[in-house]
């Protein structure tokens, strides 16, 4: 591959650089999302300021300082805990997050590996985190953790389907499962002949976008679907016995996955890194920033819902997924198919 600077590097080096970048993005993305939305947006919604002192300017250093604090804490495990499983659970969650980032494109060439089944792969590996959650809940030797983990398992599996149905509509419209392909389809496409804004699927797949947002909210166990970590009942649910850097891993995994899902939503529905009239190497330069802006918008919507709504009870949550979201998803699929074939 060559960049604008005409550097010739081998395949191995390229892979190494890209992997390193992705590894750095996870904590960085978690930090940015956490600070902007969890610390600042939530505070302002609740008529308070949030951290102001650490780092001087509006407390930007707060989360980094928290990370540093977590790392130097004692590694505690409860008496009856299964040590190996308890240590492995955060790793499973983080690995699943990392694997998702491998297919998210930030520019025409800025993707670790553009798989032909990109979307399918992304959804598949993001479900690996369920295993991590179950491991955490069981190994913690704590009844609250177990309750939380069991709730999470049911919820995460149930909401895979609406997620999938939302995405299938996009795939039908784009004609490909590859994420780069979907971005190109949006940039170069047109809506009934009008093409100066391309074909962002949010306009034609509006229902799919909503479905995706709701299902992503549930996949991330965020209110209104945060029964597994219901703060006022279970006090962090399956994570309750985790302290120190293991808790940091969970936290990074949670916000990293939020970053990933927001990026996927931006890619699938908002056009990802693309702006309709920008091509070539300019796109490589602008791409990351464009994608970042779009994903921040999606994340804003997700976190806004998180801080406003109460939480649904577990059985109501399941009923909502199976009886409401899936039928709507299927209907959306039907309508999309009709439009695709007929027009």
């Amino acid at each position: 591959m060559s960049l604008t600077l005409a550097l010739e590097v081998g395949w191995g080096t390229t892979m190494a650089i890209k992997t390193l970048v992705v590894l750095m993005i996870i904590p960085l993305g978690a930090l940015i999302l956490g600070y902007t939305f969890l610390l600042k947006m939530m505070s302002h919604m609740q008529s308070r300021l949030g951290p102001m002192d650490p780092g001087g300017f509006h407390g930007w250093f707060q989360l980094i300082g928290d990370g540093m604090k977590f790392i130097q804490k004692e590694d505690l495990m409860p008496d009856g805990a299964d040590r190996k499983v308890m240590a492995g659970a955060p790793a499973v969650v983080l690995i699943s997050t990392f694997l998702v980032f491998l297919v998210i494109p930030m520019g025409p060439d800025l993707v670790v590996k553009d798989l032909d089944v990109g979307v399918f792969y992304a959804l598949a590996v993001s479900s690996l985190s369920v295993i991590g959650v179950l491991m955490a809940g069981w190994a913690s030797a704590n009844k609250y953790a177990l309750l939380g983990a069991l709730r999470a398992a049911g919820q995460l599996i149930a909401y895979e389907l609406p997620l999938l149905l939302a995405v299938v509509g996009v795939v039908m419209q784009a004609g490909t499962m590859s994420l780069q392909g979907i971005v190109y389809a949006q940039r170069d496409g047109s809506i009934f002949g009008v093409d100066w804004i391309g074909n962002p699927f949010i306009l034609t797949q509006f229902i799919g976008f909503l479905l995706f947002l709701i299902a992503a909210q549930a996949e991330l166990t965020q209110t209104p679907f945060d029964m597994p970590v219901a703060e006022s009942e279970l006090v962090a649910g399956y994570m309750v016995e985790y302290t120190g850097f293991r808790f940091l891993f969970f936290f990074m995994g949670e916000f990293g996955t939020a970053f990933a899902f927001a990026a996927i939503a931006a890619t699938l529905f908002l056009g990802g890194w693309s702006v309709p009239w920008v091509h070539g190497d300019m796109a490589n330069l602008l791409g990351p920033f464009v994608l970042f802006a779009k994903l921040m918008f999606v994340a804003f919507l997700m976190f806004w819902a998180r801080f406003t709504y109460p939480r649904l009870r577990e059985d109501q949550l399941q009923a909502f997924a199976w009886k409401v979201l899936i039928p709507i998803g299927l209907l959306n699929l039907l309508v999309t198919a009709v439009f695709k074939v007929g027009f």
């Binding site: 308070r48 309750l147 109460p310 939480r311």
Partner: protein, 396 residues
């Protein structure tokens, strides 16, 4: 992991599983005969409003039986009142229901005044009523926000605390204390109102009405809140009264009983024109709704009181050392949490001989073993939040 041992003395949670057969998923559990789990909610727990401990026996997520364990905050008030003088007791009883402390003092002072045959001057009576209603507003605004928190919405709780500050500032302006005013004296009040307090109160009351509207939009109108609270924790009216449940809880079950209107006349309530709100359902949403309406009603009452505030002294003539003549008096009032009553037995000394404190939350919480059978764990939290008890009120 599940344990089935019963600590000594605790009644065994033997339950007729056939009785639960009508519940859809209980059918499966009965046939599978899965083990039960004993879970300890508390005493440190975000849902239990303080140091209440609920030992629940769970079958999956369903509660089979619940046993509240109280007493973590027992301070021995009734023993203490036997060795304190009346003014000293006034300081003590502020701390029974600490969110609406002014309202705790009123029935006790009324009982002492009844025994002595003293009547507080009308201005003092009006100011006492205003401060009681202000403490009712402050505690209910907090409830409106904090019940949202228990159900999962993080933001309304902050609004509740923020709006409550205005009322606390008013109480502090008048009495010098935000939480524990200690303002009542036998025969009247410690002091008169400061300059400008009345107009400040009027503007704060306008703010409180806006705040109620905001809570109605944000919480009471939210579909998820409805799904979490409607039909949850239904208390039938007759069972509620047999347990001694009082206040907004019993009015939400359709029992039209408010001591401000129906009990022995006290304070300035006979002069006021107010509506008693009831709701027919008796579930958690009804309790929320009733308290929302009562907050608005309290605001209207405060405005009426401010309009009719008489002038005059705030303290009647009382001797320096207060010796209350022999006798017994029972005074009950409609406190924010429910019916609060003092049965004061005096033998002519400077302090009571026996002072039975009837606190509202004690009876409100005693219905939990009956109420929590067969509900889900998240519903336990909703029910606890909707009953709105204060630990100091339960444990005294």
């Amino acid at each position: 992991m599940s344990t089935t041992e019963t600590p000594a003395g605790v009644p065994s949670f033997e339950l007729d599983r056939n009785a639960l057969r009508h519940l859809a998923d209980a059918q499966i559990n009965v046939e599978l005969d899965t083990g039960d789990m004993i879970l300890n909610l508390g005493p440190q727990h975000p849902a239990t409003h303080g140091t209440l401990r609920l030992v629940v026996r769970l079958d999956g997520e369903r509660v089979l039986a619940a046993d509240p364990v109280i007493g973590y905050m027992h301070r021995g008030y009734e023993k203490l009142t036997e060795v304190r003088t009346y003014p000293q007791i006034t300081t003590l009883i502020n701390r029974i229901d600490w969110l609406s402390s002014f309202a705790n003092e009123v029935p006790f002072i009324n009982a002492a005044e009844k025994l002595m045959g003293i009547e507080a001057p009308p201005r003092a009576t009006y100011i006492r009523t205003i401060l009681t209603e202000l403490s009712r507003i402050s505690t209910f605004i907090l409830f409106l926000g904090e019940m949202g928190l228990q159900v999962g919405a993080l933001t309304p709780a902050f609004y509740g605390f923020r709006d409550r500050e205005h009322v606390l500032n008013l109480i502090e302006g008048a009495t010098g204390g935000r939480f524990h005013p200690n303002f009542n004296r036998i025969g009247g009040l410690k002091d008169d109102l400061p300059w400008g307090w009345v107009s400040e109160t009027r503007s704060v009351m306008k703010m409180m009405l806006d705040s109620c509207d905001q809570f109605e939009d944000l919480v009471a109108g939210n579909e998820i809140f409805h799904a979490r609270t409607k039909g949850i924790g239904v208390i039938p009216g007759d069972i509620g009264t047999a347990y001694g449940v009082s206040g907004s809880n019993i009015r939400a079950s359709g029992v039209d009983w408010d001591l401000r209107r129906d009990g022995e006349p006290y304070l300035a309530y006979p002069d006021l024109d107010f509506k008693v709100w009831t709701h027919a359902d008796g579930d958690s949403f009804a309790r929320y709704w009733v308290r929302l309406q009562e907050t608005r009603e309290s605001v209207r009452m405060v405005l009426q009181l401010l309009d009719g505030l008489p002038s005059g002294p705030v303290m009647a003539k009382v001797p320096r050392i207060i010796k209350v003549p022999e006798g017994e008096a029972w005074v009950e009032t409609e406190n924010p949490l429910g019916q609060m009553g003092y049965y004061v037995v005096s033998k002519g000394a400077t302090g009571p001989f026996r002072c039975k404190i009837r606190s509202a939350s004690f009876s409100n919480v005693s219905i939990l073993p009956w109420l929590l059978r067969g509900v889900y764990v998240p519903d336990v939290v909703t029910i606890l939040a909707s009953l709105y008890f204060i630990l100091g009120d339960i444990d005294r």
